[in-house]
C-alpha cells in the first residue's frame, strides 16, 4: 500500500525531539527490516519496527502516536543485538512513548486493572508496567 506523505503531516520538531530523548540518529537505519523479522510482538503491531523508524524519520507524529507499536514493544532488545547498523531501536520506542506520557496521558490506567488480576500480580510486573505505560 503506498504511503502518501504531505508536507502538512510532517512534524519536524518531532524528529528532533525523538533524537534528543533517544540519543539515536535515524540516518544509521538502512531499512533492512532485521528488527521486524526478529520482533516477538511484530505480528501484533500496526506499524512494524522497520516502518516505525521510517515514519519517525519522516516526522509522521500522528501516524506513530495513533499506532499500537510503541506500546507493544517490551524493550526485549532482540532488535538491538541483531541490527547491522547498531541502531538502538528500543531507545527510539521509549522516546516515542515518553512523548505521549510527558503530556500526562496514561496508556494503562492502573485503577482499571481487575481485582482478580491484582491478587497474584508480582511487584516486578506492576513496577515495570507502570514505568513503561503510565505518566
Amino acid at each position: 500500500m503506498p504511503i502518501i506523505i504531505s508536507d502538512s503531516q510532517v512534524v519536524r520538531d518531532f524528529v528532533q525531539k525523538v533524537e534528543e530523548i533517544s540519543g539515536e540518529k535515524f540516518s544509521k537505519c538502512m531499512q533492512c527490516g532485521t528488527c521486524s523479522g526478529i520482533c516477538p510482538m511484530g505480528a501484533e503491531m500496526q506499524l512494524s519496527p522497520r516502518h516505525t523508524v521510517l515514519m519517525t524519520k519522516f516526522g509522521q507524529k500522528d501516524r506513530l502516536l495513533d499506532s499500537n507499536t510503541v506500546w507493544l514493544c517490551a524493550s526485549c532488545h532482540s532488535c538491538l543485538v541483531r541490527c547491522p547498523r547498531g541502531l538502538d531501536l528500543p531507545k527510539v520506542m521509549e522516546a516515542i512513548r515518553q512523548i505521549t506520557l510527558r503530556t500526562n496521558e496514561n496508556y494503562l490506567e492502573p485503577f482499571e486493572i481487575p481485582d482478580e488480576l491484582l491478587e497474584d500480580l508480582p511487584p516486578i510486573a506492576m513496577v515495570s508496567c507502570f514505568r513503561k505505560h503510565t505518566a
Binding site: E20, I21, S22, G23, P40, M41, A43, E44, N68, W71, L72, A74, S75, C76, H77, S78, L80, V81, R82, D88, P90, K91, M93, E94, A95, Q98, Y107, L108, I113, L117, D120, L121, P122, P123, I124, A125, M126, V127, S128, C129, R131, K132, H133
Partner: protein, 296 residues
Amino acid sequence: MTLGYYPGCTLKSHARNLEDSAIEALKVLGVETVELERWNCCGAVYSLADDDLIHQLAPVRDLIRAKDMGLDKVMTLCSMCYNTLARANLLMRNDEAKRKTLNDFMEEESDYAGEVEVIHLLQFLKNDIGWDKLKAAVKVPLKDLNLSPYYGCTLTRPLEVSIDEAVSPTIFKEFIEALGGTYIHSDHSAECCSSYQMISNPEAAIEAASKVVRSAEDQGADALALSCPLCEYNLGKRQVDILKKHDDLKPLPTFYFSQLLAVALGVDPLICRFELNPTASLELLEEKGVVEKVSA
C-alpha cells in the same frame, strides 16, 4: 566465603521460592550471602530515555549501599534486577557528565563511579565456584529430567551486560548438565515472553508466551528452568490462560534455577517452597524420584 546480595522487591513476596532455595544452596557450597542494608526497588526496568536521570537514582543508591558495606561485588537472583543494576553501573562508570549530575544530586550519599561489580548467580556459579566443583557437590543428580532453560531478555541483552554470549548463550546448559539434568534446546529460550505486556496487552502477551511453551514442549522438555519472577508469572502462573487459548499444549512445569540447584545439592524440598510453583512442578520431581513423595 561471603557474597553481597541484592534481593529486589519480588523475592521478598511472590518469589520466595527463588530466594530461599538460592540462599540455602549457597550455604551448602560454603557461601554465606550478605544482604545489602537499606536496599530499595531497582525500578525493574532500566531507563532508556537519555534525558531521564531521575530513574537512575534507585539502582545507583543500591550500588552505593554495596560500596559503603565494603563489597566489591553484588550478586542478584532476579534477571530484571541484574539487568537494571548492571546497566546503571555501566552508566556510572562510563558517562562522566551523568555521573557528576547524579552524585551531586545525592549529596548525602558517598560518591559512586561504578566501583562495585554486578553479577548474576549463574555467573558466580560458573566463575567463582566452577562447574567441576558444583558437579562434585551434587547429592541428588537431576537424572531423567529434561530441562529447557529460559533466559528471557534481560540476562543476555544488551551485549554490554550479557552474562554469556548474547545470541547463543550456553551458561544455562552448562548449569543443567552440572546438576546431572538433560539439557533440552529450545529456539525460543531467549525470545521475550511478553514481560509486563501481560497486564497491558494480555492477548498479544499470551501469544508470545505460548510460543515459548510450545517450543520447549516440541523439543521434549519436561520443564522450563528460569531466573526471572516476571517470566515465571507469564509462563508459570498465567500458563492456565495460555492452555485455554492453545488446547493442544500440555501443562509444562516451571522451576526457578535456584530450586533445581537446591534439590540437587540435597537441600530440604520444603525450603524450596514448591507450593509457589505450578502444581505440576513438584509432581514432576516426585515422579522422577528427585524428591520424596510428601503427598503419598
